[in-house]
Structure formats: structure tokens, C-alpha cells
Symmetry: C2
Subunit: 385 residues, 2 copies
């Protein structure tokens, strides 16, 4: 899988997180050993130190040393023993202590609110919160992000390992939002800002890129070729090709919402007219549906699905990406919408080697971006992916 | 840059190539050292052994040892001395012996013929040959490939390092042509066949993938985001994104020619109708132009360019690939064609961060696929990329 440490704030003193108290440089061999052991323990059955030595190829002394360190940091815990051989003594088993630390996850891609969650280390959502966005854009929208993060941190009952954020727009590797017209952000150093305010490791990535990693990690997708189209405040795509998350220069990959689909003079948030987003962004599509009879509403949804399919088709065909997942509001991604999308794709693509481009709903449901944000923090802080 | 050893035949005893006579496993440290030294010498000024030790971080003993081996294999040569310091003796300079070995390169993407060339190790074309394709397809087309390769090898005056082939169609990592409808090939083990016939290391890759590597290696392209569209017997694309050559499952990435652009019932080689290729493949476009007045021919070329631009636009926009190079017959890729392509791209894409998608002629000219085939052999045999 592509390295998901797509956007990370500069490291600075960590005041809250117990896991960050020791000075560990990323390149440190000790850090690599820790990552290696954690990846063998994560979401697996409890293992003895001897099991871990066999599985990783590290010496027993090194394993014992690293496990002691992980116990000290409360990232793993001992959970009983397994009977030994006739001559050996029972082996103590260790496992990841999933509730020892919390992850703070933010989804900024929603139509009317910013959503947040606290998750355990295995990604289970333990607590939810949200803040109305209203007409706030620019600095006032940033203030709301910070408020929401603060509220979540205040509600955490264990140390917070880090903050993950999925945001609309073009996001640089440093977590700077280069351009998010729907939120009125341009060159906003969001990762740095949150880090300075909250003193926690912070990972900011594009919402669709976040979601596509979650889809391939927790969902049903194949990292070899997977496109996730996120419909919310805007429309964006996250693409995994050959297990690589496509970033493009300065993070510009994925801007599928700004492909022009019409000559109609409907102004987009990007300043141009006729972009896919002017039809398909959730607030725009809702506006079009308002007051329509059910029949005409269905027809309008079919038209939107067809437009999406026509844009997806050449991209998916040219990339050899046969699995396209759609993530967005359930009342919009309805059966007529999905059918029209697939029909447009069928009309515009060819089958190759008995493969054809299939569009489907994301397996993640409405928490896709939150789960992706969690995956980014786990990858960045613990090397898990 | 992505590893260009995209398709390689199984290694078997090398009967012709002096460079392959010793038993060197790819994973061998000695092989890595050899590759490291060659990459420092390739297309650079002559260097002393001391220069190489400084540049690579290898010890002088190791450098002397590897240089001795390379001299023995005739891959490098000594070219005089550089005056030493007052106390030192003059340093002997070594350089790559570019004419010590030949590369056999084949371009199977042409409309009416298979083209071949012998190049030196720096990619200079020393000898050309071609074989008429006529109506040959399937096995008889394979026979012509073998014939052409044989003729080239027979004309080599120095040992042949390897064979590189750029072919239309979907090509697996092992050099099997999974599907090349224009040549009537399906699951053709071309790399293995040529290797068995000619007893030389053989690299087979898709023609557009071959050309895009050459464009970024020898041409003007930026490996961060570069799409090369190859117009010949068919229409295909090679895409570099984040310095990674997109392959797709089983090599299916790049099939831009089979995006459907029309409801007209024009049957494509893939069996469907209305594919971009039915308008834009060189033989098809020539047929449409035959007998037209100059004005109407210009109009037809503009229409073809527009169709290409409409398919390129969503792909380039969504990938954040802003540099699109076109490779094909000069009499078709004319100014009206290129202008219409760019206009269609402009009409369908948005600018981001002051970048916009630009289409241009490939910097490689008509030898792009041949140069790419050479690049594949150099990468596979000598680790040069």
C-alpha cells in the first residue's frame, strides 16, 4: 500500500501524548523494530515474545527489549499465558492495548457540518461530535475546526495519539490546504495551525484520498486499482493504482469535480462554469431536487448519475481501475443514480481481459472519511498500514 | 523514476552476450556495486577510480575490483590519464565503452511495418531495418518479428546485450502480450518466444509505456506527471504519475484508445463500436482523409484532435498530469490537429494552482518507441534508468 503519511505536521514537543514522551527519531532502528512488532500484533491474536521473534526475525533479546518499551508506553498489554512445553515455563502473551490511547478524527467534507469522532486504536468509534458549518468560510471555518478538535480532545479519557483530518481541496504533503474553494481556503497551513493550537501530531489529507485508503484498509477495495469518488460539499476522487496513492504535483491529483461537463453558465466554486461539481456537489444537487415531483426527482438523479459516469469512464478505462466506489449522502446515491452511473460507464468503456469498470457504493458508509483519518494517524505514528 | 524492467524474459544461458558470461545473480552485492559504478559513469565525463570511490562511498579496493571486472566484460574502457598531484602518480580515467555492445530494439507499433534498430549503449541508432507487415496478423506477424530480430542480430558487429520490444496491446510483467487486437495476438508469450529463438535477454513492454519512459529519460517530460499518447496501428497511453509508471492490473492501464467517443457503428479491433481508436488510429484516420480536399482534410484532422482532447481532458485533470505528449505520424499530428486537441482540453479542464493541462508533440520524434526499447534493456541489464 502507498505510504499514508501523506500530510504530517512538523514534529514539536508533544505535551499530551504519553506515547510520544521519549525522543524517538523516525529513522531510528528502535522505531523500526517497534513498528515491526506492532504490525505483527495489530488486529492479530495475542502472541508470546518467542512468537514475535520467530515472526519478525529479530532476536529474543531485541523483542523483549522492544516489548518492555511498548508496555511502558502502554501501547501493548500482557493478557495471560499459554501453557509451555513439558520443560518450558508458560509463555506470557501480549496484545495491542487498543483502548490505551485515542485518535481524534475530523471529517470536513460534509455539506452543513464538520464531523468529528474519537476512536480507539483499532478504529472503533467511541464518541461523536459535530459542529454546524452554516455559512462560515475562511478563518471562521478554521476556528470551527479548532473548536471541534478541542471539544473532542477534552472528551478523550485516555491520551490522544494524534489528530487526523480529511478535508476537501488540494492538500500538500505538509498538510497545507493549497486550494479548497468550497471552504474559502487558499494556502492554509491547517496541519501546522492545529498542531500549534493543540500540541498533538496532526495529519491532514484530502477527504477522498483519506477515504480511499480507508476503503482499501477497512473496506472492500483492491489497492491494485481502486477509485473512490467522494460527493459532499464538493466532488473529489482518491485513486489507488498499483497500490500507490496518486498524489500528482503539489497534491493536484483527484480533482475530478472540476472536469467540465456542460456549456450551461452555472458558476462553480473554482470560478469556471459547467464543472461536474456544479451538478453533483450535494448542496447543488439538493437545490435541483427541491420541490420536484418524485418522478422528476428520479429523472434528475439519473441525469446526475449519467454525468458522473461519463467523467469516470475515460479515467477508469485509461488507468485500468476497474473498481469505483462512491461515497456520499444516502438520499442522493440512490438506486436510480447508481444505475445511471453504471450505464454511462458501460456505454463508454470496453472490457479488457474480462474485466469491466464497476461502480458501487463504498463499503465504508458515512464514516469513511473518519476511518481514513484514523488510518492516517495510525500509519504516521505507529507505522501501521 | 519507475523501474523500467517492466517485462523481462526468464533468464537462461546467454550464448551471445559477453556481458552475461559470468554467473551474476541480480541480488548479488557485486551486481549492485557494478550497477552503482555504471550509473556514475554513464553519460558522464571519464572518472578515476578515486573519483568513483568518493562519489559512491565504496572503498577503493572494491572500486578497483569492480572496475577490473567491468574492463574484463568490456563495458568500460581506460581513456588516458589525468595529471596527479605533485607526489601522486597520474590517475587513469575510465569511461563506459559505449560501442562495446549493441542493443537490438524493435518498434511494433507502426501502421505498415515493424521497425528495428541497433543502438550503441548510449542509445545512438547505428543501423536500421524494417519488415513490411502487410496483412500479416497472429503467428505470421510473430514470425516477422523474429525475422527482423534475427536480421538485426546478424548485422551487429559487437555482442548484443539484449533485445527490447515496444508492442501495441496489454503486456504483462513477464512480457506476455495479453491482448493486442490490431496484431491478432492474445496471450502471446512474446518475451519467452524471442528469448528461446534468439538466446538473448529480452524485454517486451507496451509501446506507449516504452515511449513515456524514453520521453522522461531522453526527452523533455517530467516524471512527476507525464502522459504520452501514442498514435499508430492503435492508440494507447503511457502514464507516469509521482514518478511511477502506471501499470494497472495485468498491465491494463493505458487503454485510452478504447474509450468510446461516438454512437456511430464503426467496429473497432476490440469488437466494440465507436472507440476513440476507430477515428484516431493512423490507418483509420488516413482512410478518412483519403481523397478529401485540403480544407475538408483540415476539418477532419481538427475533428480527430477534438475527440482526442475530450478523452485526454478528464484523465489528465483527474490525475493532476499537466504535461501530455503526443507521438505519431507527422503528417497526421499537424498544427490543426494539435490546436484542436488543446482547445478541447482547455474547454474541459480547470486550472489548478496556476497549472493547466498542456498537450504537445513528443520531443522524441518518430524513434520514440525504439529509444524506449533501448532504455528498457539498459535498465534491465545494467541497472541504468
Amino acid at each position: 500500500m502507498a505510504s499514508p503519511t501523506r500530510s504530517t505536521a512538523r514534529r514539536a514537543p508533544q505535551v499530551r501524548s504519553g506515547a510520544e514522551s521519549a525522543k524517538v527519531l523516525p529513522a531510528d532502528v528502535r522505531h523500526l523494530h517497534r513498528t515491526l512488532l506492532l504490525s505483527h500484533l495489530y488486529k492479530s491474536e495475542p502472541k508470546s515474545r518467542a512468537d514475535l521473534a520467530r515472526a519478525t526475525g529479530l532476536t529474543r533479546v531485541t523483542v523483549s527489549d522492544v516489548v518492555a518499551d511498548l508496555l511502558d508506553r502502554k501501547l501493548v498489554e500482557e493478557v495471560g499465558t499459554r501453557p509451555g512445553t513439558r520443560v518450558g515455563k508458560p509463555a506470557t502473551l501480549v496484545t495491542v492495548d487498543y483502548t490505551s490511547h485515542a485518535l481524534v478524527c475530523l471529517d470536513l467534507s460534509r455539506e452543513t457540518e464538520f464531523r468529528g469522532a474519537i476512536t480507539s486504536l483499532d478504529g472503533d468509534i467511541l464518541y461523536r461530535d459535530a459542529i454546524e458549518l452554516g455559512d462560515d468560510r475562511g478563518d471562521t471555518a478554521v476556528t470551527k475546526v479548532t473548536q471541534l478538535a478541542h471539544r473532542l480532545i477534552d472528551n478523550a479519557t485516555v491520551p490522544v495519539l494524534g489528530i487526523g483530518v480529511g478535508t476537501p481541496g488540494i492538500v500538500s504533503a505538509e498538510g497545507t490546504v493549497r486550494n479548497a474553494p468550497n471552504l474559502g481556503w487558499r494556502d492554509l497551513e491547517l496541519a501546522r495551525h492545529l498542531h500549534d493550537e493543540l500540541h498533538l501530531p496532526t495529519y491532514v489529507a484530502n477527504d477522498a484520498d483519506t477515504a480511499v485508503l480507508a476503503e482499501s484498509t477497512f473496506g472492500a477495495g483492491d489497492a491494485n486499482g481502486l477509485m473512490l469518488v467522494q460527493i459532499g460539499l464538493g466532488v473529489g476522487a482518491g485513486i489507488l493504482c498499483d497500490s500507490h496513492l496518486l498524489r500528482g504535483p503539489e497534491g493536484t491529483a483527484g480533482e475530478i469535480g472540476h472536469v467540465r461537463v456542460s456549456d450551461e453558465h452555472i458558476v462553480c466554486s473554482c470560478g469556471r462554469t459547467g464543472c461536474l461539481e456544479t451538478y453533483l456537489a450535494a448542496p447543488r444537487l439538493r437545490e435541483r431536487l427541491a420541490g420536484l415531483t418524485p418522478d422528476r426527482a428520479t429523472h434528475e438523479l439519473e441525469r446526475a448519475g449519467q454525468q458522473l459516469g461519463q467523467v469516470i469512464a475515460p479515467v477508469a478505462q485509461t488507468l485500468g481501475v476497474f473498481d469505483v466506489a462512491l461515497l456520499g449522502p444516502e438520499d442522493l446515491l440512490t438506486e436510480p443514480f447508481l444505475r445511471a452511473t453504471q450505464e454511462a460507464v458501460n456505454a463508454t468503456t470496453s472490457h479488457f481481459l474480462d474485466r469491466n469498470v464497476t461502480t458501487r457504493l463504498s463499503a465504508l458508509g458515512s464514516d469513511g472519511v473518519l476511518h481514513g483519518a484514523a488510518a492516517h494517524v495510525l500509519a504516521g505514528e505507529l507505522g501501521l498500514s
